[in-house]
Amino acid sequence: MIVANTLFTRVVRNSPYLLIALLVVPVLGGLLGVLLPAFGWFPALGAHEFGLFGFVQLFQTPGIERMVLLSFGTSLASTLLAFIITILILASYFNSPWLKRIQRLLGPILVIPHAAAAIAIGFLITPSGFLSRLVSPWLTGWDTPPDWLLPHDPYGLSIIFGLTLKELPFLLLIALGVLAQPEIGKTLRAQHKVASSLGYCPMTGFFKVILPSLYGYMRLPLLAVLAYSSASVEIPLILGPNTPPTLAVAIMQWFNDVDLSLRIKASSGAILQIVITLSLLGSWWLLELFVKQCSAAFLINGEREYGGMLIKRLTDMITIAMLTVIGLALVAMVLWSFAGFWSYPDILPQQLVSLHWTSALLQMQTPLFNTLVIAISTTLIAIALTLLVLEAEQQNTKTISAISGFIIYLPLLIPSIAFLFGIVWLFEQVNSQHAYVNVVFSHLLFVLPYVFLSLANSYRRLDPRFSSVAASLGVPPSKIFWQLKLPLLISPILIASALGLAISFSQYLPTLLSGAGRINTITTEAVTLANGASRRTSAVYALMQMLLPALFFILAWAVPKFFFRKRG
């Protein structure tokens, strides 16, 4: 497309480079900032020679094998479990209105921060928690809390539970998103019909016909989920064991230790973490090949019925169980946040007080302020940059290259614990003292991918003929952008903004590290309090973590309805 050379078009044209730079430089720079100390180069400690002593120290840590196994096992198990349940739900409710309903029920879980989800699950499964109270003493005969090992069990079952519950809605939403796309969805549904006409019961039809094609679209999100869960910190910190913890948690503790010489071990650990993540991705790929091989014969053997009713019943039970767990966890948190005296094994507190909310709201003024300022700044920048890049796509009349598309996912695929410390090192080199700026910058890395994902579809689907008509009427590109495209996209922009805000609200490690511990947000406070002295205050903070994104999503839905009604 031939465009005039105005300020607007120049800015637009260069925006993709800015986007790539903003994503690539910190991530690669961060990796470098961790690679060097890992191999022994740490001038601030007087270490100037490359060597492997960091790795030697790392492998001599007691329990290092357990840490690695725990990280590997919990993320593989939780991703597999989440994936299997997702396809079971899809298969069972494929042609049923229940699919939409389940999507709507599970959707909000997406924006609950991992920390809040972990806290909520903790409330449920701890021995003196809500589940135990519900069945005591009439079922179990307990009148003091039992001494069972959940959460913090050494096999990471609590971690798997938490991660699965959090990843499932994401995978389901991605799958439904794929099915909702007109061409793909229509084709897949038609193929399902063909299978049905050939005698395949709906469930078998789904597994043999739809899943093989659908899987291709789900592969990248699955890998992202796998990569993220292998290095996540919040859920293992709150629900996981600490003798030893997962590798990511251990690395975080080493980095934060007063003893600076542990930094080298921590950097080596970060490299090990990358190796673990890569091996997980490799294992998944091997698993794919294996399944493909095994299923080749299975697909065409002509078997049409595999006990579909049984599987459907199972799926029904799993879905109900999940929704119940989530509902109970929420109820438990609300009860605890208002609880006065609440002795075990009562199901309800003896009295309800508002003390915890009032005192917490007084205490959380600064963290709340920080949370909002950082989130709004980050989201504004992310939205602006995304819109400019998407506009550049239209200006250049081609979508961004596959490499750029991949780079946008980069911060989500590389374990954040690996490069965040390097970014801190980068900040120190640049002598950036402004904690707020550092934190916004590091949040941007995680908000951009989601905002881009969210807006890209809507922007690209804008009928290009609108702009052509306007251009033929002599309207300059900037005016087309501001007065034509943006108003048409108000709803997707608001939703992408709400999503960006939610992602920023939920960040833990970036805030902790880039802010050098000086910036407290609701999430950092919540994680600290989760291991603290007052379960009641912790409940208030966790609920606050959930209310904030919910509030902004409601705004995003309501504002267009009430303020931007169609004119004329």
Partner: protein, 427 residues
Amino acid sequence: MRLSKCLNNYYRQLIISLCLLSVIPLSSNVFANEASIEAKSTSRAWHNVEKRGTKQNVYFHAWGGDQQINNYIQWVADQVKQKYAINLHHVKLTDTSEAVSRVLAEKAADNHRNGQVDLVWINGANFASMAKYQLLAADWAGELPNFELTNPTNNPAMTRDFGVPTQGMEAPWGQAALTFYFDSLKVNDVPQTLPELLTWSENHPGHFTYPKPPDFLGMSFLKYALIILNEQQPANIKEKLYQDATVESQAQLLPSLWQFLDKLHPTLWRQGKHFVSNGLALRRLMGDTELQVSFTFSAAEIPSAISRYDLPDSTRSYRMKDGSLSNIHFVAIPYNSPHIEGAKLVANFLLSPEAQSRKQKTAVWGDSSVLDLSQLTATQKTLFAAPKKQHLSANIINIDNTRLLGELHPSWVKVITEQWLTRYGVQ
């Protein structure tokens, strides 16, 4: 003529005796004067301090993480402003080591007279560090008039910081002692000694635990256990706990601790397979009623937690009969402070009965006083009477007979932590 000579002799002797006699009072007056001259010179020295210290700006670097403590320091600032027209500034630290680093940097930059830190709240490893690098003003604590009230000769803890002699470089400010607490509704046979604790835990498994090293509270429990378990050893071996840990002393003193823990762990919460990471979690577990006996350093937090429903109403606190690990926290003056006199005046005020009694009040801070009540006048003692209206848990059982156990030498912390992690750190 002979009678007049006799009379003359008598008179001469009388006069001489009278003269001699009069010298004695005069001489005793001289001694008295010397004594009072001494008294006058001590108070004169202090008087000088008072004169020079008024109207100074004193920068007090102290941990600022607790709002109650910050409020107390604000009250102190108001008082010294009234008394000495001193402006006390509370510089809130996240960690005391920040002040240590600052003075160290100033010394390295040859700033020997104009430091930023006038008074610092400090103890333990930080003190040892500052003393080692000669960052502190020496020999001033004994000058403070109120220091006498701590009865230092009978309370050696006042001049030892984690076993390291203070050498007059620090003045005591407050003390914390390990206090246990329990749920009186659930626990009938409260364990009051360490062996009783083991028996109780065996009879009621799953209701006691301690935070894993290197948490400070967890370490304190282990130190307490180490001291009690080695009580029967000869004095020269026990002494080594207060000295640098050597391979030899470790072999003599540590095995009893590991044997005790090997017996204790299977009876603990989570069968000793999982330990909480910080001391705060213990209070949460008590609130959840998963634990029935626990411990803390700041006894004042118990009534305060009860008022917030974080602990059951039936919670009561007590001190172990066989001893309570206690540590004293101090204030020190860096060598390069430009306001040493003002700092001394503040330190002296901090030791006053008025300031110490207020600090001890649960509603204000709850940090125990370092003053020896036997050194106080009757009026001063009334300041320390407990207020009538407070929760039952604020009355610490056994507090009057508390046998205070001094802290171990800092080197033991690393040793115990490393060996604990090797033995129990990975399940």
